[in-house]
């Protein structure tokens, strides 16, 4: 029987991607707990396995043994489909991410577009789950998630458009290829294209935090006001899948930031580029995301929208105009 090697490659990558996403989701929880603990000068998980390394496994087993409760009065279809709608796009996005010049499941010409398209489905998943729950906290949370995501998608996409203008391509591998040869070639320091590039990176990073509903923008899950927001009615693995989806989205966000601004798999000193540099940069960004969560308190909802509409959007437009002017002049 003849099997197309391309199909085999895709299957191998798909299995790898799912394993990578699941492993990351599990161990990012561990990282989060450890990092939070050390910021508060505690140890964190340490009893289950060496350094608490088996904790995610035990947590997973615990979540799986819990009863999956579907409360009376929820929309049975939406309620069940929502966690999957959060998880699947997150895993799908991995397909388009180039980890190194050879390690990419699908080198798409419009890779950037694919990732942002899938990223918007994530919001839909949260919205449907919250709406299907018929819980007032969940519905408030859903309203917040949608307005938050609409507000932050604009500066994010404007920043990305700026980058696409500089690179002239939406192919993620090519975008990285243009930044090879040391950290002074990376887009974050591409001051010749626009002196505001470091600011653009900051904007992108803040938007990424907001898009993935991370603190200080975790309006969706504001436990002090909304119980657990959109997840209030979820139990057991229903909640677990949401949780994994969130972490997978953080990995995607950090990967995209690495690709767009930090030169992907390029070494900062021009030596031995490879997948390890990609992972180092990505995990550094994830570390920062967690670090931010344990540093800043949650903003108010109005503060969050004001930040986007009054600061991030104007500045990202200024950057866009400046960049296009620079591209035209030089």
């Amino acid at each position: 029987m003849h099997v197309d090697p391309e199909i085999l490659r895709l299957v191998a990558f798909l299995v790898g991607v799912i394993a990578f996403a699941a492993l990351n989701a599990a161990y990012l929880v561990w990282l989060e707990r450890k990092e939070a603990a050390h910021i508060q000068r505690r140890i964190g998980p340490k009893e289950v396995g060496p350094f608490g390394l088996l904790q995610p496994l035990v947590d997973g087993i615990k979540l799986m043994t819990k009863q999956l409760i579907v409360p009376a009065g929820v929309d049975p279809v939406l309620f069940k489909i929502a966690p999957i709608l959060v998880m699947v796009p997150a895993i799908m996005s991995f397909v388009a991410i180039p980890f190194s010049d050879t390690l990419v499941a699908r080198n798409l010409d419009l890779g950037l577009l694919v990732i942002f398209a899938f990223a918007s489905v994530n919001v839909l998943g949260l919205l449907l789950g919250a709406w299907g729950s018929r819980n007032k906290y969940a519905v408030i949370s859903a309203a917040r998630v949608v307005s938050q995501n609409v507000a932050y998608e604009i500066p994010m996409l404007v920043t990305v458009v700026t980058l696409v203008m500089i690179s002239g391509t939406m192919n993620l591998s090519e975008i990285v290829g243009l930044q090879m040869g040391g950290f002074w070639h990376w887009n974050i320091l591409n001051l010749a294209a626009s002196p505001l590039m470091p600011v653009a990176f900051l904007i992108f990073f803040v938007c990424m935090l907001a898009e993935t509903n991370r603190a200080p923008f975790d309006m969706a899950e504001a436990e002090s006001e909304l119980v657990a927001g959109a997840f209030t009615e979820y139990s057991g693995m229903g909640f677990g899948v949401f949780f994994m989806g969130e972490y997978a989205n953080i990995v995607i966000g950090a990967s995209v930031a690495t690709i767009l601004f930090l030169g992907g798999w390029d070494c900062p000193f021009g030596l031995f580029p490879g997948v390890h540099w990609f992972l180092i940069k990505m995990y550094f960004l994830i570390f920062t995301v967690i670090w931010i969560r344990w540093t800043f308190p949650r903003t108010t909802f109005y503060g969050l929208l004001n930040l986007s509409w009054k600061i991030l959007i104007p500045i990202s437009f200024v950057n866009l105009i400046l960049t296009s002017a620079m591209l035209k002049v030089f």
Binding site: H38, I39, R41, L202, F296
Partner: protein, 150 residues
Amino acid sequence: MSDYLKEIISGTWSLFVGLGITIRYFFQPVVTVQYPHQTLPMTPRFRGHTELVPDPESGGPLCIVCGMCEKACPSNCITVRGEKREGVKGKVLTEYTLDFTRCSLCGLCVESCPVTPTKAITFSRDYNLAGVSKEAYIFDLKKRLEAENR
């Protein structure tokens, strides 16, 4: 316009200052006590439930069964019983029960004890108290002392 920019810059800077503080904490040593594995040393004046002080030579209780502590206790939580025995001077302690459910740790019992130079009862350093029934807190201090001697 300049106010707007100033606010953004000072705001962004303050965020970095905050991150600087937490990362310094991140690298500083852990300060928590790993409780079941480690415990804090109790201070000398810590008041746990009372316990009988053993005679340094015989290991038996120093108590002379005078009943002062029983009388002094404002909550009536002490029961002391003793008996006369052939060939022994004074009374011999047969029962010392402390109803810790009512004890307020006021210390009047310890204060009133006439035995010198060391009092016959003292506060223990025991703070690991957990139980499932009220009866678990009616302590037989004589038995406790005997258990310690063994």
